[in-house]
């Protein structure tokens, strides 16, 4: 609710993270407001003008200490609720790896993103792969795996509308998943400082309907590119 009002939710798990945020806001907000109320109420109630002599309380008396102990019960309960929901979301996004319908390779370097899309055969590392710089094309409602790599330093593949973030580490290939649910064009940011060009590697993710995406793949695949550009060359020659 709160996060969605600031930024669209464009992945299958974005709303779960939005709900978790709202839940935490509620569960920490209520104790916070109660603590603030008591804090200010005491300051005003026990102002020097209104009091002759302060009370002598060690704090160990049961009649006072019980309030501190009782306050722990809701805090512990709230902690448990937050842990359950947080771990649940975490498990779903990061630990679990559902079956992929397609896979993209994301390569970070100082200071650009390279995206490798499978071509018409929907398989990576074949001759029809489509390589782009700073723009990633994906189809809506398709479950993707990403293979995240870095060529030099740490980077972070962050797609705020997906609520997704993952560090890229040189020497490793990190696999994760996302499923776009909202068509449109959104930001990809680097979220780990990577040198002086850290602020200069914006990329865009293009979420297309499956038919639009198929058309983009057909148009940009190295083979179809050769076919498509051949007539143009002929025209130019004439």
């Amino acid at each position: 609710m709160i996060l969605e009002s600031l930024l669209p939710a464009a992945s299958s798990y974005a709303r779960d993270i939005g709900f978790l945020f709202d839940l935490i806001t509620l569960l920490v907000g209520v104790p916070f407001l109660i603590a603030c109320y008591l804090f200010f109420a005491f300051i005003f109630r026990f102002a020097a003008k209104k009091v002759d002599k302060a009370m002598y309380i060690t704090g160990y008396e049961h009649e006072y200490m019980k309030w501190i102990h009782r306050a722990h019960v809701p805090i512990l309960v709230f902690d448990v609720i937050i842990v359950i929901f947080a771990v649940n979301v975490w498990y779903n996004v990061k630990q679990n790896l559902p079956e992929a319908e397609s896979t993209v390779r994301v390569i970070a370097q100082q200071w650009a993103w390279t995206f490798v899309h499978p071509g018409p055969d929907n398989t990576l590392d074949t001759a029809d792969d489509i390589t782009t710089v700073n723009e990633l094309h994906v189809a809506k409602d398709t479950l993707y795996h990403y293979k995240l790599e870095s060529k030099d330093v740490l980077h972070n593949f962050s797609v705020p509308v997906f609520r997704l973030k993952q560090d890229a580490i040189p020497g490793r290939v990190i696999t994760g998943w996302f499923e776009p649910t909202l068509a449109g064009e959104y930001d990809i940011q680097c979220a780990e400082i990577c040198g002086i060009g850290h602020g200069l590697m914006p990329a865009r993710i293009h979420i297309e309907t499956p038919s639009q995406h198929a058309a983009w793949v057909a148009e940009n695949s190295p083979f179809s590119l050769a076919k498509a550009s051949a007539p143009e060359l002929e025209v130019a020659e004439r």
Partner: protein, 570 residues
């Protein structure tokens, strides 16, 4: 002027000293714990001005991208990275640490436990000298070829270890060298604090009679000593990687960059509590005095501090949830992180309970102490958002994190320091501070502080990442309302920095011509208030005090005065 006062003093009590001290001996190479404390205090405050200036320069760039910033010029991407890196490093290692641990620790421990000095005065002097060298190195790194290190205060390799990536071949080594030297300085200081507090207490002062701030500095020193070893080793490995071509953190040659992150955060998270605990100790002293009340459940406060300290060693990987560690680990660290909310909440409750039934006077130090509790509460609860692993996938490395830790570190390093400084100023300089100016300074600091960082929570929740020098390159971050919030934060920062002039004016004016404070202007019960203001070398030339009771016997039913000093026989 100040020197005249001190010189006069030295003449007065000259017969207590072995010989007349020269200017160099007294002010440059002192052995007296109070003078070393002042060296730390004013070096820390000077560094705070530098760190604040860095913040001003890069916030101006964020609010008005590309502008020619007054006193700096155009902030280039390389400048921007160097500024944010140095701001973070300076504020934590060269402001919070020296002021909260070293300055207050040095000043207060001997005076509050009734000792004439630290047990190892020469180690104490060495500690400051090493610290000063480290501060000079970090500032000097701005003037070497390639400029200051720009890889953030966390210095993650390979960016920090390879010059072809960082483009700061000398600056990055100077950064890690300065940090490592600073650690050595505080290890030496910590040895002194712990030993002095355990061995030099006034006759009669039992464990539960030690003032809370002394306990807190001792616990903080222990936490520091237990956590800093791995990072000091890591720092030396980093220097080797940078200058000797070793490959501890180099993935191309079998090293692991994530190893550094573990070493860094194993220290980095306890470090938060290392600076937090002295601040909560200061707040305890101030709150009890100005509510004329015993600290609510003294032992509980102490146990929560120890509990928080122990737990703080088990939470470091919540800084690395999305760093590529085994995802199952995040579940463990989520649980330990949220568990910390239990002792910290208890500590905050106890502080609020201390106000209950008191007789509260809102003097300047009391306003700072109360502001600490309120602002730190905000810092505490926003930590829950980030400790919850599922939510951290989105929030990690956004301005939400930045706003959260400024809501913890600012109350600690700035509000806590002002609470302590305005409270003990009469003891340190023998003069009262101007309360009206003090309150003006308070409000002109605390309101802009909130106006800086509340907007940053919103920006962070809208997806704004950290350490990016110009958001106009990102369509989702270049919306007008976001730019308005950035400008609000920057203007508030300028107002807040400007308000510090009031503080320095008040300090100098009060120091020179404030009304004399006398020994105990606040009617406080702890031992430092039984010495003259300022205390001479040796603290109590007439003989060290004896302790008869706990530190917070305010409004005791069996006593006619509303305070019962620790040294007054029953």
């Amino acid at each position: 002027m100040a020197e005249t006062i001190h010189v006069g003093h030295a003449e007065e009590h000259g017969h207590h000293d072995h010989h007349e001290m020269s200017f160099l001996e007294k002010y440059v190479f002192p052995l007296d714990h109070k003078m070393i404390a002042m060296q730390y205090m004013f070096t820390g405050m000077f560094m705070a001005l530098i760190g604040g200036f860095f913040a001003y320069a890069f916030r101006m760039q964020l609010a008005f991208p590309g502008m020619d910033v007054p006193f700096w010029g155009v902030v280039t991407p390389a400048d921007y990275n160097a500024l944010v890196t140095s701001h973070g490093s300076v504020m934590i290692f060269w402001v919070a640490m020296p002021v909260l641990i070293a300055a207050f620790g040095n000043y207060l421990i001997p005076l509050m436990i009734g000792a004439d000095d630290m047990v190892f005065p020469k180690i104490n002097r060495l500690s400051y000298q090493i610290f000063l060298i480290s501060a000079i190195i970090i500032i000097a790194s701005f003037f070497v070829e390639g400029g200051a290190f720009g890889g953030a205060w966390t210095a993650y390799p390979p960016l920090s270890t390879k010059a072809q990536y960082s483009l700061t071949p000398i600056g990055s080594t100077m950064w890690i060298t300065a940090v490592a030297l600073e650690f050595v300085a505080f290890l030496l200081g910590g040895i002194n604090f712990i030993t002095t507090a355990m061995n030099s207490r006034a006759p009669g002062m039992k464990m539960w009679d030690i003032p809370m701030v002394v306990w807190m500095i001792v616990i903080a020193s222990i936490l520091f000593m237990l956590s800093v070893g791995p990072l000091l080793a890591g720092g030396i490995m980093m220097i080797f990687d940078q200058q000797l071509g070793t490959a501890f953190f180099d993935p191309d040659r079998g090293g692991d960059p994530i190893l550094w992150q573990h070493l860094f955060w194993f220290f980095g998270h306890p470090e938060v509590y290392v600076v937090l605990l002295p601040a909560v100790g200061i707040v305890a002293e101030v709150m009890t005095v100005f509510s004329r009340k015993k600290l609510f459940a003294y032992k509980t406060v102490l146990y929560t501090a120890i509990g928080t300290g122990v737990l703080s060693f088990t939470v470091w990987a919540h800084h690395q949830f999305i760093a590529g560690i085994d995802p199952r680990m995040a579940n463990v660290f989520t649980v330990t992180t949220l568990l910390i909310s239990v002792p910290i909440a208890e500590m905050m409750f106890v502080y609020i309970a201390t106000l209950y039934g008191g007789k509260i006077t809102l003097t300047t130090p009391m306003l700072w102490a109360l502001a600490f509790v309120f602002e730190f509460l905000i810092g505490g609860i926003t930590g829950i958002f980030l400790g919850a692993s599922g939510n951290d996938i989105y929030m990690h490395d956004t301005y939400f994190v930045l706003a959260h830790f400024h809501y913890t570190f600012y109350p600690i390093a700035i509000i806590g320091t002002y609470a302590g400084f305005t409270f003990w100023f009469p003891k340190m300089f023998g003069k009262m501070m101007n309360d009206g100016l003090g309150k003006l300074h308070f409000w002109l600091t605390i309101i802009p502080f909130n106006l800086i960082f509340l907007p940053l929570f919103v920006l962070g929740a809208s997806g704004q990442h950290r350490r990016i020098y110009d958001y106009t390159n990102f369509p989702e971050l270049a919306q007008p309302w976001q730019q308005d919030l950035r400008q609000l934060a920057t203007i508030s920062l300028v107002v807040m920095l400007g308000a510090q002039v009031i503080f320095f004016y008040n300090v100098i004016k009060s120091w020179m011509s404030g009304p004399p404070a006398g020994k105990n202007p606040w009617n406080s019960g702890t031992l430092e208030w039984t010495a003259t203001s300022p205390p001479p070398h040796g603290n109590w030339p007439e003989g060290l005090p004896t302790c008869y009771r706990g530190p917070y016997e305010y409004s005791h039913p069996d006593h006619d005065k509303d305070y019962w000093p620790q040294n007054e026989p029953a």
